[in-house]
Symmetry: C2
Subunit: 376 residues, 2 copies
């Protein structure tokens, strides 16, 4: 069983680079999909979600980059349908066996004729899936391609926050050779998604086009726990690459909340710390400012923390111990922050056994520059 791809150009990117990817499976494969929870959804998301709600197996998907086909009304939906139809016609499939994804600028109609021609070209030049080239073909403002491979899973993705005037979507496609029925696949998918793509933030903004697929190749008998491990590793690696490629980012912050009463609380507090503009600027400034971390951790409305059981670490350095500042050498902590691209922030709630990890980027001059300077 092999996965094939075809790549071509519809002329959607200012750079003129490849912007259309068709991925084809030789037989129907179980596909589990999760989409953005944004209510202002792009047309291809509406289209594909309708399909994955009704069917469990698919034969192909098509992705165009450079145009999100979002905020494009009825016409946008028709364009998504036309894309699926054209792939189906070329590959002798049913239209409903083809999923559609788009990423790029919002509110601009797709030049549909050029897109359909590019689909013809891509379908006429199928070759084995190349993760790096597939990632490049679906990239928009990404500075580098995103892909990963483990023994029992491999995948590719794209995403780097949102750059004007685009909404730079996060897209990821992960495959496993494991023989799994849809229910098993779905269970692994949702669990991994929560811990990877649902635990990263660049700017706290939910795109209109985000999609993440897990696809089973149905080739080998592999224990589900082993599959999950590798699907997690591949997804986590792609997720971290997206954060590292965050707009203007110079660092990845790994925010770990430990010893919480339960996972939901650990996650909510990790998220609050990870999206805090004050924590993110402190990360950029290599400033071991535990007060900002404590204030963020304390500000989740439904999850009280007890200041007297709260401890905070940066790297291995303990800055706050059960509510009282330690006499740690702050200059040494700042040095650790300066010398590491990945900075570990640990928030110990001291009340239970649950933990959660969230990944974030720092907030830099370049973030403001990228998002403010380029005007319509």
């Amino acid at each position: 069983m092999s996965v094939l791809m075809g790549i071509s150009k519809a002329g959607l990117k200012p750079s003129g680079r490849e912007d259309l990817l068709v991925v084809y499976f030789e037989k129907p494969l179980p596909v589990s999909a999760v989409y953005t929870k944004n209510y202002f959804k792009a047309a291809p998301v509406i289209h594909s979600q309708n399909l994955t709600d009704r069917r469990k197996e698919f034969r192909a998907f098509v992705v165009n980059s450079g145009n999100a086909n979002c905020g494009t009304g009825e016409e946008g939906l028709r364009h998504a349908e036309l894309m699926a139809e054209r792939v189906a016609k070329n590959l002798n499939l049913k239209r409903e066996e083809v999923l559609v994804f788009s990423t790029g600028i919002i509110g601009v109609p797709l030049p549909i004729d050029r897109v359909l021609e590019a689909i013809d070209t891509a379908c006429g030049n199928l070759e084995p899936l190349d993760l790096k080239r597939a990632s490049e073909a679906i990239s928009t403002t990404d500075r580098f391609p995103k892909y990963a491979r483990e023994k029992y899973a491999f995948g590719f993705g794209k995403g780097a926050g949102m750059i004007h005037p685009n909404m730079a979507t996060m897209l990821a496609y992960v495959f496993t050779p494991a023989k799994l029925d849809y229910e098993e696949l779905r269970k692994i998918h949702l669990e991994v998604n929560e811990k990877t793509f649902n635990s990263i933030t660049v700017d706290g903004c939910t795109s209109t086009n985000d999609s993440f697929l897990l696809i089973s190749l149905n080739e080998e008998e592999i224990p589900a726990s082993r599959v999950k491990e590798d699907v997690f590793k591949v997804s986590q690696k792609i997720a971290k690459l997206i954060v590292a490629d965050g707009e203007g980012a110079t660092k990845v912050g790994i925010v770990r909340v430990i010893n919480a009463l339960h996972r939901e609380k650990a996650k909510a507090i990790a998220e609050k710390v990870a999206v805090s503009e004050l924590v993110k600027t402190a990360l950029f400034g290599c400033d071991p400012n535990w007060g900002r971390i404590a204030a963020a951790a304390g500000s989740v409305p439904d999850y009280p923390i007890n200041p007297n059981s709260l401890s905070i670490y940066i790297g291995e350095y303990k800055l706050l111990e059960r509510g009282t500042p330690t006499d740690v050498n702050l200059e040494e902590v700042a040095k650790y922050m300066r010398e590491h691209k990945e900075v570990l922030i640990t928030v110990d709630l001291g009340e239970g056994n649950a933990d959660w990890t969230y990944y974030t980027s720092d907030l830099t001059y370049d973030y403001v520059k990228l998002n403010a300077e380029y005007t319509t």
Copy 2:
């Protein structure tokens, strides 16, 4: 009935400016207080909240700026008590008739001896309340004083987001001459608070020390609706001054959500748009980027919007009409944004009659500079 104040210096500010304010009421007055909802609360907030939970009338309050007395453990609580005790001793009051507030750096013990001496000095030099000077005495990183006066209300405050290494608290004290019992006062207070200080954002971060008091002077019979109107105006003016003084801010964004199903939904969506880093950088860049506004409006988990009934305006310009982009001249909209310090963003959900307004600042290079460059 008059309100007196005493101002002095405890040497808590690097600038060496006045940093201690005592406010004294000639007779016990009904005081309604609201505090930060952060669980990592400062010692004076814990102290004062304990008092206002049990009592409804007070005789004085004391505020020091330059040190938040937060993250200071048991010692911090003792310091807050000592401050109340010292004011009480000087003014011949009971300790529990005195409220205590602090704002400034986190995690550093108060130099309590100097603070207590400064309280003696302030209490020995009482004079009629001067709103501007009172605001200056409690300011930290503020660029200008914040106060306002209407016929039936007057008040002062401070706040400008959070600047390293401080958590710059928001504090506000509003008075009305109206004869009101505590319950009436409380009702007006909570309602006004929701629409003013609970509807502003500089960086989405909840400080550890935020406090807002409404105090009745019990002098005149005034209809409650009239009182509320003026308390609202004064509070709104102080709240807008805080946003305008937001760290590095060049503009105030007025985010209005209209025609929502109900107020909670209007407020939740207005808040999401107001805290969006992408909307805030677009505001800075004078970029009429309606896609970011739509994406933010659509991303509140519990409140679905219908893209096909969504319209978006900047100023008087309609950019999106019931889900479809208009042919507005975007250069004219950008010009409106460049030429106004206050930029109006209207999100019309087209589904009901409820509305809410949120105030936000733009996200600028100076915000990043202020929060990243000054390291501990």
